[in-house]
Symmetry: C2
Subunit: 254 residues, 2 copies
Amino acid sequence: MPPLVLTPLPNIPLIRPGDNLAEFLLNSLRETGIDLQDGDILVLAQKIVSKAENRLVNLASVSPSAAALELAEKTGKDPRIAELLLQESSQILRARMGTAIVEHRLGFVCANAGIDQSNVGGEGHDNWALLLPENPDGSADEIRAALETASGKRLGVMIIDSHGRAWRLGTVGVAIGLSGLPGLVDERGWNDLFGYTLKITIVAAADELAAAASLVMGQAAEGTPAVHVRGFPYPLREGSLKELLRPKEQDMFR
Amino acid sequence: MPPLVLTPLPNIPLIRPGDNLAEFLLNSLRETGIDLQDGDILVLAQKIVSKAENRLVNLASVSPSAAALELAEKTGKDPRIAELLLQESSQILRARMGTAIVEHRLGFVCANAGIDQSNVGGEGHDNWALLLPENPDGSADEIRAALETASGKRLGVMIIDSHGRAWRLGTVGVAIGLSGLPGLVDERGWNDLFGYTLKITIVAAADELAAAASLVMGQAAEGTPAVHVRGFPYPLREGSLKELLRPKEQDMFR
């Protein structure tokens, strides 16, 4: 089996609304000496996709509702951030000083609705917040289409964010949008080494790759928001974030 | 920044109690043409470590307690497996038909106490269960010491298992024991790209690497229970599973 190789893509400039990410990726790949091949995957940090899609919100334009004022008091957050948090969420699971765990409108559970105030950049930094892309699967589709057209190769594109976990410390990269690669790989029914049928093994292959890419993006201070992947060990197919979301009726911890 | 390269190590034989894993790893590295370098990490599937340490239990030797009979009825599990599950756990968080979510005596939350009945191997397969290593950090220490002695290099060793997640489908690789690499990397206080101080960014670097290695170990049918890693982007240091465990008083979902 070939190795899995994850290469951070250098010299991606600071992204501004309207920027063409596919073009920046192609430039960086060229500089890095990587010729895209069938089966390659590009992994992008949520932040650059959100910025390119102008998901910046000027906090001066946000009027907190009564519910937001209540959430702000409970969590210690800026009431305008609390308002965005409510708008971006379909359910608040837990709210405590410093944090709110929510079901994001995109369907996954995460802290603070994925709203980002670091590295938002530019003048008046404290007055802007960055929301997640409106439709990350769709964002990945678009970037993939542009890269496939330019390269003539069959590719995958994934957008990732960093999430905490219920029972473990530290954040890990997870998929929030994908195009052209599987979210889950179902190994049920395959035979194990002794010929016994495995009962249940469904691997969250996209999340495993997201964690790997997040590791390579590494230190926030160095800013490598895109990673090229070669050697993903499963066949590419159409895929979606939706595969990775546990249905509520199977949720034992809400 | 250099790429992160994960190479599955071929020709690891089926492991039996008492086997010397370090020797098998060194043989496979030699066959693969990999010369160990300072900073390299070896990632091992829990299963081969548990087998080498003879953590096999013959179910015929297990007498279920009253509590085990009750858990077996609630979950549909073999009462002897339920007994082992109770012995291996410090708390049962949820028990439903088909699954029990527990705090393992090692401190992490997982399904079914990490007890494995697939690929346990040999005659009378259905009558054996495989428990997690008694002290996975210690197991990693021992294997690392043998590899460092043989190579003269500064290495890391990690033991991983596959865990489900509360709100996402599919399993991902996570660290259950480590030696010579950080569990967490604390980026608090570093400056972001605009010179603002990041408030909180603690990365579960070991878990991100575990997920990456799990992806490479891939398909159960192919059996590649060990992975060589080059290019881990953080400095190696002494580390422990304990870093990764969320203290109970911070747990919002127990």
